[in-house]
Amino acid sequence: MIKDYLYAIGKYLSPLQREEVLKEIQANLYDYLEETFGDKDRYEDHEVESAILKMGTPKKVAEAYLDRQRALIAPPLLDVYFLLLKIVIPAVSLGLVIANVISVNPEANLGLLVLNIIGQIWSASLSVIGVMTIIFALLYKYLPDKDLEFSEEWTIKDLEKAPEPVERISIGETIFGIAFSVLGLVFFNSDSLIVIGNSIDYIPVVNTAVFNNYLPLINISFVLSILLYIYLLIKRKWQISTRIISMALDVFGVFVFWLIAFNPNFLDFSKIPGISVNDGLKIAEGVQIGMKIGFAAIAILVIVDIAKHLIIMLKKTKDF
């Protein structure tokens, strides 16, 4: 019985301290037995049971010996973790649905398509949970303690400066940013979008060979944006460093979009049945003009965003 009890306690202890702590608990149990029931070679079951009950439940006993509360994710970060899951999983699901619907074969079996989408969402959601958990576990392990929780020797200097109104992040914008980036990431990486089949069931308008050249840049842009948004959600404020990173990511994103919008080979309508090569080129030109207009609009938005960051940074420098 004592062996079982020690084994149960051991499950809650770290491997490094397990042997030593269990040895001590065993000695304490026998001390209790000896003092209460006398020195014997073998104790009755009810005597052992009373000693164990007196000691407490395995979990409670083990927790009393733990130096630090066992947790995979820092308790102060739990809310951010769940909030992110609530944003990312629906965004991934939406991205997969859009990608599937765009590439759908009009004669496809609808039931199979739905099952396929559910399967993709399930496996993507599991991946998202896994990756997020790893990121947050690493944050807990490697972020300095004072960033997450105050140690007992904290001083007033440890208090982080509360953000002024202009430094506060907008939760709505951040959530939208994460959702948009995740959606983009899923959408652009979805096989169904970039595969140009020979089948007439698909309407391939993107030149895969050209698109694949840009895909790593698109992915870098989205992943870095997601990481920045997660950091902003944790810090709950803009800092000079995050403003600079955000501006750099804006410029990088516009640069990638520029590469795509101004590449005449990016779109290819010639594979659409019934459209000649010349007509395909004309349509592509038209769409390309639309993309250039879109590029101009996004460039203006980015310039406004960068100007906003710069003005706030300049004001802050003047205040010093």
């Binding site: 000695a27 026998y30 001390d31 003092e35 000691m55 407490g56 409670k60 010996y65």
Partner: protein, 113 residues
Amino acid sequence: MSEVNEIISNIQQEMKRGTLVLAVLTQMDQPQYGYSLIQALTDKGLDVEQNTLYPLLRRLEKQGLLDSDWDTEGSRPRRYYKISDIGKEVRSLLLEDWNRLNDTMLKMMEGLK
């Protein structure tokens, strides 16, 4: 009433917890193993749960206030703890604080029923 009793019980536990380290340090001039220390404290009127005391002994040892040794000569191994030199210094400072606190409390309790 049960709510009041719970509040009282919590406050009593906190008071006991606050005095436990000093109480333990006063009993460690002679080597003590876990259960003998529980008895020593109980004999003097301080009831402590095993689950509170044993981990505390390990923590005090980690902090350098206690030294420990496994005695393997008896029929079963037993870990003995004894106050260290640092522990004695700490204890002496804590006792000064305790006496000051005691004087302060006595002054504050004057006239109370």
